[in-house]
């Protein structure tokens, strides 16, 4: 087992970043616990990479404080901070062997030669590249290069590991494999890790907590389950997974009107608004045989996507088209086909409600 110092705690307080007049980050407050893997997730341009670069000291925040453990790192240059980083491009030094790449950071802190050698072979063993120590990066596959970059970042035992879209340059199969590998390595080492990604599946699969960002602000922080099941905003709801949205008018505290019907909600309405957005995930809509449900509709199209069938159903009494995911077995039982009439229920515990 490879030794690793305890991962550090990171405190981000009131961080703002302006590029000229453009506000890239607005009042970011976030605490990352020791040993945690946190994903910054959001569309491109949401500020997630800027935040990562501020944590690394590669960008300077316009305002705000950063603490790593008890140390104030707000104004420290990158070389005085304690982190390892893996870039999207890996930025491996092409003129050095795999072993020299991994040893680079150990040599800069003046570690004696024998220790460098043993630490390098230890790390290469961890990432499964013992046999490739004398090769050059260009002679390795993309996935192998990624692991070298990881080993190089981890070699000096940093308290914090930063990953900037580390998997996006790889093809799907290697990506899935490396995902679980990175996760188990991170758990084993206990290093606090921040990963930036635009891939929601990656974030949900790997993270202890996900930070969803949009337009320079944090929309929601939570476990993957919380993010998916209780999205805090319409943006989060639409960005993570698929979601049906439709407008409705509030009737009172916990009732809304859709078409001619009134629906009960589990949670109270956001505030007094004249119009709210209701949302429901495609897999939460219950399809029932014709005549058995509350709403009637007609199947418009069916896309077979392997594990489920993405079905579009047009409701007859309101101008509304819903996307419904049905597993193939239920679809057979319902004799689902394009043009068929079906009924459906919208379970109130699956209904989300957002300010319009």
């Amino acid at each position: 087992m490879i030794q690793q110092t305890q991962g550090s705690r990171l405190d981000i307080r009131g961080v703002n970043k302006f590029f000229g007049d453009f506000c890239a980050l607005k009042e970011i407050n976030l605490t990352i616990e020791p040993g945690e893997l946190v994903c910054f997730l959001g569309p491109s341009g949401c500020g997630k990479t800027t935040l990562l670069r501020i944590i690394a000291g590669l960008e300077q925040q316009t305002a705000g404080l950063l603490h790593q453990g008890v140390t104030d790192i707000s104004r420290k240059p990158p070389k005085d901070r304690d982190f390892g980083i893996v870039f999207q491009s890996y930025a491996l030094f092409p003129n050095m062997t795999v072993a020299d790449n991994v040893a680079y950071g150990l040599r800069s802190i003046g570690m004696p030669k024998p220790q460098v050698a043993s630490r390098v072979s230890e790390l290469l063993a961890v990432v499964g590249l013992e046999d490739h120590a004398r090769k050059y990066p260009a002679q390795l596959s993309g996935g192998q290069q990624q692991r070298v970059a990881l080993a190089r970042a981890l070699a000096p035992s940093p308290g914090l590991l930063l990953l900037d879209e580390p998997l996006s340059a790889l093809d799907a199969k290697v990506r899935h494999h490396l995902r679980s590998e990175i996760r188990s390595l991170q758990k084993q080492l206990g290093v606090t890790t921040i990963m930036v990604t635009h891939d929601q599946e990656e974030a949900l699969a790997m993270a202890d907590r996900v930070v969803v960002m949009n337009n320079g602000v944090i929309e929601q922080v939570g476990t993957p389950l919380e993010i998916y099941q209780q999205p805090a905003s319409a943006f989060v709801a639409s960005f993570i997974g698929a979601m049906n949205f439709f407008d409705s008018a509030p009737v009172n505290g916990q009732r809304v009107r859709v078409g001619n019907r009134e629906l009960d909600l589990v949670r109270p309405l956001p505030s007094d608004q004249s119009c709210v957005q209701l949302a429901i995930r495609p897999e939460d809509v219950h399809l029932l045989p014709n005549g058995d449900g509350e709403w009637e509709g007609q199947v418009e199209s069916m896309d077979y996507l392997g594990a489920f069938i993405r079905t579009r159903v047009r409701l007859s009494e309101v101008e509304l088209e819903l996307v419904v995911d049905v597993d193939p077995r239920s679809a057979r039982q319902l004799e689902l086909q394009v043009g068929a009439c079906v009924c459906l229920n919208l379970p109130s515990d699956a209904l989300h409600c957002f300010a319009a």
Binding site: R75, F87, F93, P94, N95, Q139, L162
Partner: protein, 576 residues
């Protein structure tokens, strides 16, 4: 290594934001200060002399401000009609011919499957190794009063525009060819496949795919050739006869009549078209975006005998012309006494018997070229590295980019003249370098700075932009990353820049012709002086000697590059 103790000690005791701030930026200040120093050096080498030149052009002999009197005087003397317009049309016509020939050659090389294209490329760029005086001398032997092919001109004189245009075409051809080859080498095969799939004829494909793909190269080549011809002094000096152009006019005013202020006036007039071409070229380059992306498939010409034949036909005149010029110069340099005693001997290489500095001048040239190479390469790369790979205030990099490209717009003669004004001024504290080899080195470094800078910047831009960030996360300073990663990766580009500087310093006449002193005569200037004294054969011999030296340097550089490529093949594998 960058934080000074004065800054880091107090900040470890208290955490006042200011001292932490100081620590954070201590590293950056060092780099910014270094770039400020770089700007200052370039300012001293380019801006200050140019300013002195401009102010000279509005002063009389005694240094009193006279406004535009000098210009008025030059205009009324008729110089503007003759020299200025002569320069324009000669340069314009040469540009059209060279770009046309170079485009045909580049097409033949990149779009056909002719054999030996490596050798053909080698021959086509040979003129770059020769001083611009060589084609002029050669043309005198071919078409001059005692020329072997005089009858081919049907009574027309080679001494004049015809000679200038032919000579200019010879030595500017490689410049245009290299730009066009770069533009046409990276053709996207998909475009050609699409044209074929859409049933376009070869002729239509040529006009709709090949030409548009090369358009920026064509424009750029045209600007470069125009500037080179209009600012060249060697060819018109040797073969121009009574035909005045701006470049020879400056020389006559300064060397012949010692009218420095008139030299300054003509320099300003020469600066105008050169600056205009420079600005226009920059503007066009800015619009150019990379059409060859990672997704492109390199174009591979298909087998087509007829197209190969057309290609060979297009290359033949240029190849014959180049061989004829170089061959004639070599032959003439060995002929004992043209045209009376055609037996071959080494008499003309006995430079000790002639004026012009003899072998001493050649050794001076070698020293000067080596000095330019070493100082220039180091300066160019260090500055380019500061601009590209260290954190810099945007304003500072903007200023530096401007300063580093400015020499491209300054003709050699103008630079040389402005160096006289600036460095020979009695109040200049470093005027002791005037007349030494060192000022020749400085002027050459400056003269050829821009192209070297662009080469270095291109090489540095190709490196992963996160190398320094990774280095810092691994506690390595930018300096360590520079020496362990950046420099090894840029070695091929460094060799290219070194060769470029050596060859140009060896062959240049224009900037140095005003600056050499009694103890710092140069080979290229010796060619000029011997030609002027009527020793044309020794002039040819010296020109050939310079060419052979440059070819030797090129060969050495080729060997070094081969060695570098071989020893780094392992880590380049897969990337090339």
């Amino acid at each position: 290594m960058i934080d000074s103790p004065a800054l880091s000690t107090p900040s470890s005791h208290n955490r006042r934001p200011l001292s932490a701030f100081g620590q954070r930026f201590a590293g950056r200040w060092v780099f910014a200060l270094l770039l400020v120093a770089g700007c200052a050096v370039l300012g001293l080498l380019v801006l200050a002399p140019l300013y002195t030149l401009l102010s000279k052009s509005v002063e009389n002999k005694d240094g009193e401000f006279v406004g535009l009197d000098n210009f008025a005087h030059y205009l009324s003397s008729g110089g503007i009609e003759s020299a200025f317009f002569n320069s324009l049309w000669v340069a314009g016509l040469s540009t059209v011919i060279v770009v046309f020939l170079a485009f045909m050659a580049a097409w033949a090389i990149t779009r056909t499957r002719l054999p030996f294209t490596g050798w053909i490329r080698g021959v086509l760029v040979l003129p770059i190794l020769a001083p611009s005086l060589l084609p002029a001398i050669s043309l005198v032997y071919l078409f001059g009063n005692q020329g072997v092919l005089k009858s081919w001109l049907f009574g027309a004189e080679i001494y004049g525009p015809i000679g200038i245009i032919l000579g200019s075409c010879f030595w500017t051809f490689p410049h245009a060819l290299m730009i066009l080859l770069t533009a046409m080498d990276n053709a996207d095969g998909r475009h050609y496949e699409a044209a074929t799939a859409l049933k376009a004829s070869p002729w239509r494909t040529f006009w709709t795919v090949t030409v548009p793909g090369a358009r920026y190269g064509l424009v750029s080549a045209a600007f470069v050739v125009f500037t080179l011809v209009i600012t060249d002094f060697g060819v018109p000096k040797v073969i121009g006869g009574q035909f005045d152009v701006l470049a020879t006019d400056i020389y006559k005013q300064v060397i012949g009549q010692q009218k420095f202020e008139m030299g300054a006036v003509i320099s300003v007039l020469l600066l105008l078209p050169a600056m205009l071409a420079f600005v226009a070229d920059r503007y066009v380059q800015r619009k150019q975006s990379a059409s060859f992306t990672a997704r492109s498939v390199p174009y591979k010409p298909s087998h087509d005998r007829r197209r190969d034949a057309v290609g060979a036909l297009m290359l033949t005149p240029t190849l014959v012309f180049i061989f004829a010029i170089i061959g004639m110069a070599i032959y003439a340099s060995f002929v004992t006494f043209w045209p009376y005693n055609l037996s071959l001997s080494l008499n003309n290489y006995d430079f000790g018997r002639m004026d012009g500095g003899g072998w001493g001048a050649y050794l001076n040239s070698l020293q000067m070229a080596l000095g330019t190479m070493l100082i220039g390469t180091a300066l160019v790369f260090f500055n380019a590295w500061l601009v590209e790979r260290t954190p810099q205030p945007r304003l500072l990099t903007g200023v530096f980019q401007l300063l580093s490209l400015l020499p491209l717009a300054v003709p050699g003669l103008v630079l040389g003249l402005s160096y006289i004004f600036f460095f020979n001024h009695p109040d200049n504290p470093i005027n002791f370098i005037y007349g030494t080899l060192f000022i020749l080195i400085l002027s050459s470094v400056t003269h050829f700075y821009a192209v070297s800078h662009l080469t270095a910047v291109t090489a540095l831009k190709q490196l992963d932009k996160e190398f320094e960030a990774v280095g810092e996360s691994l506690k390595a300073s930018r300096w360590r990353v520079l020496f362990t990663v950046t420099l090894p990766l840029c070695l091929p580009a460094i060799l290219d820049v070194a060769l470029y500087l050596f060859v140009n310093a060896m062959t240049t006449v224009s900037a140095v012709v005003f600056l050499y002193g009694h103890d710092s005569q140069l080979a290229s200037v010796a060619v000029l002086n011997m030609d002027e004294a009527g020793d044309i054969a020794p002039a040819a011999a010296m020109a050939i000697l310079i060419t052979v030296t440059c070819a030797g340097a090129k060969l050495l550089q080729g060997v070094l590059r081969f060695w570098v490529d071989r020893s780094t093949r392992a880590w380049r594998q897969g990337t090339e």
